[in-house]
């Protein structure tokens, strides 16, 4: 098992290398001079040159990339072009909140989607099923920011003046300071994303579950006199959850990278906002660091999900042992 895991991780390394190379290349292609943004009115020909050479930005691209890479593998992402603070500090400040938000979104959407999806498959074709299907279809067409706005205005959150615009400021409480308050503070942002996410999950669960329920072993269990509830959750759910697991794994990465919209809407300072800000301010070091961390998490999760197939399905476990 462990051997397989490490082999999978090795396969992920080229992907990560190319992703970082690509991000590096794209950032250096963005028009605009980072020194001008950072120095503002203090910019002259001289100070600009000095600034660029201080950060090693005047060197050719391959040199810059390998320089960055050799530091990045030691978790040194350099200093922010913006405030000259270490990038790692910025990331570690923003990351816990984003991870918590993503986990809350996943837990909430699964808590909604599993019972609804299982029921929908159990009563496939019924009126309730059709209503659930239509509702999911509609929910999937709602853009995330619209869902957020709806929740905010329906629940009467108050607008506050942010940096230069009115936003709905959520005061985030760190989890280890006060877990209850912390979950409460992120509840609405998480809910606004979780509803759409749940709709996608429901459709997946229903499709897979409806197929499983046609299987002979379900009929067998039924004829043995087991209760429907027991069959649904103990017999049928496990073999129906493979697609769900894959999609959940992909969702973690997509959510982590896609948090920027919900964070901007609720005035949160998570990893999404950090990336968004750093791109606009030409703070390439921060963008690189944050994008790399998000991608590493994404690839790691994909690997872990792959491992979990073996946990859920004994057949996969056997195949791997002998394969």
């Amino acid at each position: 098992m462990a051997k397989y895991f490490f082999r999978r991780l090795l396969v992920a390394i080229p992907t990560l290398l190319v992703v970082t190379l690509l991000t590096n290349a794209m950032l250096s292609l963005i028009p605009g001079d980072p020194s001008k943004v950072a120095l503002g009115t203090a910019w002259t020909e001289e100070t600009g040159k000095q600034y660029l050479s201080d950060l090693g930005l005047d060197r050719p691209f391959p040199v810059r990339y390998f320089n960055w890479l050799s530091h990045a593998v030691r978790l040194d992402f350099g200093i922010s072009f913006y405030d000259k603070g270490p990038v790692l500090d910025r990331i570690t400040r923003a990351f816990p909140q984003s991870i918590q938000l993503v986990l809350m979104i996943l837990i909430m959407s699964l808590l909604i989607a599993v019972p609804v999806g299982v029921y929908s498959a159990y009563r496939a074709g019924s009126r309730v099923d059709r209503i659930i299907q239509s509702a999911c279809f509609a929910a999937l067409s709602v853009p995330g920011f619209v869902a957020g706005l709806l929740i905010i205005l329906l629940l009467g959150l108050k607008l506050k003046y942010g940096d230069d615009k009115y936003v709905f400021l959520v005061d985030y409480v760190p989890f280890f300071k006060n877990p209850f308050q912390s979950v409460r503070s992120l509840f609405l942002p998480a809910l606004s994303v979780a509803l759409g996410q749940a709709a996608g999950f429901v459709r997946i669960i229903r499709t897979d579950m409806a197929t499983t329920l046609q299987d002979d072993f379900v009929l067998m269990a039924k004829s043995k006199g087991m209760s429907d509830k027991y069959i649904l959750f103990r017999h049928a759910f496990r073999p129906s959850s493979f697609t769900l697991m894959t999609v959940t794994g992909i969702a973690i990465g997509q959510l982590l990278g896609g948090l920027v919209i919900v964070e901007q809407l609720f005035g949160l300072n998570g990893i999404g906002t950090e990336i968004f800000r750093s791109i606009l301010q030409r703070d390439y070091a921060t963008t690189l660091g944050a994008v790399t961390v998000v991608t590493v998490v994404f690839v790691l999760v994909a690997t872990v999900v792959d491992m979990l197939y073996g946990v859920i399905d004994p057949r996969v476990r056997q195949a791997r042992k002998f394969g």
Binding site: L22, I30, D33, V37, F137, P143, F145, Q254, I261, L280
Partner: protein
């Protein structure tokens, strides 16, 4: 889709006998007459909605409506008093900047639709051709192209599009302060098009692999057909059908992503006075007046929602009609 030949053979006698009375000039069809499910009211509603949206933008283009134009005379209304601004001249009222919301909607629709169209066309041109080539040749070409696709897909979509937008639409103002983005319709379409390539590549590749092993492709090859001829004449017509459904759903998704970008202030019209639905929602949602007049934000949001829903619904129905398995998409 894989059953057409068998069906045709098994039902041939009945079809022949039933068409025996046809006039001599008619071609006897062997295909069985299948009972088709009706499209349904919701489908036609979606079609009517889309035709309405597209039609109104075309009309607006001829009439010459622009964001600033009140089409039945100017009325100034105090900010935030949305309800009070509704009149015959402004059936949907005025927004916080004093622009007619209906005019805004129609003008914004044009940009959103053009972006959806261009993005999907661009994505299918590049991703589709690459996917067909990779799926047909397999081997080394496929390995390389698939690796690139996997890399691109391991960047979360929104991060990727933000980077693309920054590269393509980044602009310096006179002072050289490069904070601003100037996103024209073309630039946003190009960015979204590039974003869509890996996904489209995967779908087309999978579909091509499936068809390139069929007998008619082997037959064409045996007759000495060249590769472009096989790809365009044999595989494309078969791959195109499921892709039609996928393209419709993709158009809806593109509109959602574009709305999200506009909402972040980096979508179409960022740094210019071009308007789009997402931008209208964003502009309305950052005003304190939003609490007293939420509809100013929700009218464009509803228009966006219904349009995306229409695309998804039509796409879903087309897929059903073409009997494409969901797993293939």
């Amino acid at each position: 889709m894989t059953t057409t030949i068998d069906d045709a053979l098994s039902s041939a006698p009945t079809t022949l006998s039933s068409s025996a009375g046809a006039s001599s000039g008619d071609i006897v069809t062997l295909a069985p007459r299948k009972k088709r499910k009706p499209w349904g009211a919701a489908f036609w509603l979606s079609v009517v909605w889309l035709i309405g949206v597209i039609g109104s933008t075309i009309v607006a283009n001829f009439v010459g409506w622009k964001k600033e134009v009140d089409f039945l005379g100017a009325v100034t209304v105090s900010e935030g008093d949305w309800r009070g601004s509704i009149s015959l001249a402004h059936p949907l009222g005025l927004n916080f900047a004093g622009n007619d919301i209906l005019v805004n909607l129609v003008v914004g629709a044009k940009n959103s639709l053009i972006i959806a169209l261009f993005t999907v066309v661009f994505g299918f041109l590049v991703g589709g051709i690459a996917g067909m080539v990779a799926g047909y040749f397999k081997g080394r070409v496929d390995t390389v192209l698939s690796f690139i696709t996997n890399v691109l897909l391991s960047l979360p979509a929104l991060l990727f599009i933000l980077l693309l937008i920054a590269v393509i639409s980044g602009a310096e103002d006179e002072a050289g302060l490069a904070t601003g983005l100037q996103s024209s319709v073309m630039k946003v379409s190009l960015s979204l098009g590039i974003l869509s390539i890996p996904t489209i590549f995967r779908v087309v590749r999978a579909s091509t692999i499936q068809f390139s092993q069929r007998e008619f492709v082997t037959a064409a090859r045996a007759m000495g057909a060249k590769v472009p001829r096989i790809l365009a004449g044999e595989i494309l017509p078969n791959v195109a059908k499921p892709m039609m459904a996928f393209g419709l759903v993709a158009a809806g998704t593109v509109m959602v992503i574009e709305g999200g970008l506009s909402f972040l202030g980096v979508g179409v019209g960022a740094g210019t006075d071009v308007t789009a639905w997402g931008k209208q929602i964003q502009e309305a949602s950052q005003r304190k007046d939003l609490e007293s007049a939420p509809m100013v934000a929700f009218i464009p949001a509803l228009a966006l929602f219904f349009t995306v829903l229409a695309f998804n619904f039509i796409g879903d129905k087309v897929r059903e009609r073409l009997e494409v398995k969901q797993a293939a998409l």
